[in-house]
């Protein structure tokens, strides 16, 4: 155990897009674990779009980060010391004390996860973790996916979107369409993940691009971005279409309200449904998800790509880049 460790603290709250100045890399003393606690050496931490909301001092589902304190977020690590009978030294644990190289936390707030042959532990931050479970809950429960559905997902090359498309294909979707922001991502969707169609949302009005990619309309839209693509999706909806609202990253950095879709009248004429959700309210699906997805991963039926950035001192740049779309697949910071 080192006696000091590095962590990233919130230095100030952003107005609009976050900058390096909103964060500070600090060297802090690492306490010894007290009874009931464990010490963890973090192997990797997650940067996720929802973290932008935690930078604001506003009540939300995830508590705001506090000024002058280390940021939080998903991390995977190895237990180096334990004062708990429930967690053995050497265990692999998933927990929420990311943004730091070492963490001391109550054993009750860490989840021991198995080491799986051939599968990287970092998958617990992506396909096998919160992003994968978010895709699973949103597609199957919130959007009530049925075999034969045509599914559109935005931010499709991201950690959640890439899982949504693959889960839909593996479950009998008639057609899966994804949108992303670069040719490299479009190639990834079409060539690696087996999407039926994909478009770069920079190439023109989303409504036109989606109409070309889904000429017969869509049954399900998995919304990661909001804004123009949400309006396009509503316009492309078939009768009884369903929208799972997972995130609206297009507005996360906005400092004034963004215009909403102008075609909500279609909700009545086409009997549409739109639901927002948070994965942590659907823990009852966690076992089903893990069993299903770990199987598909082991069989090679689900492909993953990680954008890996090494070192805590790179984490802030990586986070800001992810909000701009710099990642393909799950963005991971190795520590």
């Amino acid at each position: 155990m080192p006696i000091s460790t590095r962590e990233i603290q919130l230095a100030s709250r952003p107005h609009g897009e976050p900058t390096q100045d909103n964060f500070a890399l600090a060297e802090v003393a690492l306490p010894d674990p007290q009874p009931g606690e464990i010490a963890v050496r973090n192997l990797a931490m997650s940067v996720d779009p929802y973290m932008r909301g935690r930078m604001n001092d506003a009540p939300s589902y995830a508590p705001p980060w506090q000024l002058g304190e280390a940021a939080r977020g998903g991390a995977i690590g190895e237990v180096t010391a334990s004062q708990s009978p429930d967690v053995a030294v050497g265990s692999l644990v998933l927990h929420d004390r990311g943004w730091r190289e070492h963490a001391v936390l109550p054993a009750s707030e860490a989840f021991v996860v198995p080491r799986r042959d051939g599968l990287s532990p970092t998958l617990y931050l992506g396909a096998l973790g919160m992003p994968g479970r978010t895709a699973y809950v949103g597609l199957f429960r919130i959007a009530a996916f049925q075999p034969g559905d045509t599914v559109f997902v935005s931010a499709a090359a991201g950690a959640v979107g890439s899982m949504v498309g693959q889960l839909a294909k593996l479950s009998g979707a008639a057609r899966v369409i994804g949108s992303a922001g670069s040719q490299d991502k479009i190639d990834f969707l079409l060539n690696d993940l087996g999407f039926d169609a994909a478009f770069n949302y920079h190439d023109g009005p989303a409504a036109r691009l989606l109409a070309q990619a889904a000429p017969d309309g869509i049954d399900v839209y998995f919304d990661n971005v909001g804004g123009e693509q949400l309006e396009a999706a509503i316009g492309a909806m078939k009768l009884h279409g369903r929208i799972a609202v997972c995130g609206q990253i297009s507005g996360y950095n906005a400092s004034s309200p963004q215009p909403g879709p102008r075609n909500l009248g279609l909700f009545v004429s086409r009997r549409l449904a739109m639901k927002g959700f948070l994965v942590f309210e659907h823990d009852d699906l966690a076992d089903e998800f893990t069993q299903q997805v770990s199987g598909w991963l082991t069989e090679g039926k689900i492909k993953t790509r990680e954008t890996v950035v090494d070192g805590l001192d790179q984490a802030v740049d990586a986070f800001i880049g992810m909000l701009r779309g710099a990642n393909t697949g799950k963005m991971i910071i190795t520590l």
Copy 2:
């Protein structure tokens, strides 16, 4: 049986708000009923907001009215001749050949309804008919109303809205709030229908008026108008709030798309759900509805007000006025 009768035909399609010129009052020959048909003397006809959509030549749930042909819509009448063993002369029937004084139609397209002691047959066009059933389906099935909910309904003094509020109160709502466009309507909501709070949407920003009327937020919004009030309702939603989208009358006469709500980001943070619906897809609730609501009407627990206009030659003005909000309660044309 007269040999001729009067009907209102669609003369041209409107751009924006309809005018008298879009309609023509015509004298037409009345055919004798053929085998399987009945002849009906209409007692009253309905004018409803959804009819605005039927004036457009665009595919929708209700087929467009055809140029040079009589308009259609709900009507209640007495059977004057019958060539069907299923419908006796003298029966009271509900059917879709409104906008005319007499109608000849297949018996299979008419619904024989009972004459109920003390209840006006025109209730079959309002509280006991399509508007009442729309309120019932939207509140209980689409918005999944639960006792203890706080409910907000727009166009609350209209045929549907006045039922939504009363059904919610009778079913254990914690608080019912309505909006309408005149002081007379507000008085009606508060003094006659038992709403807990009501506001005139002309009195200021809807978000402020709603926050005053529902300081603790709302669980259910029954949307009849869309636009600014929808945005206000989303902003006032509590966690897991539900929106039933019944209509969006604020946009019906618009000739360009109206801006959408700017606060859809709340769908995730508050896990909101919004669903559009059409009553005719929920016929399985019709018997339950009729039994429940006819009982409450007979017991005097549901109050109704009709805005009655007499004569087919007044129907167009009445329809145009209803789109502007001239009615309190159900608007009926007696014939």
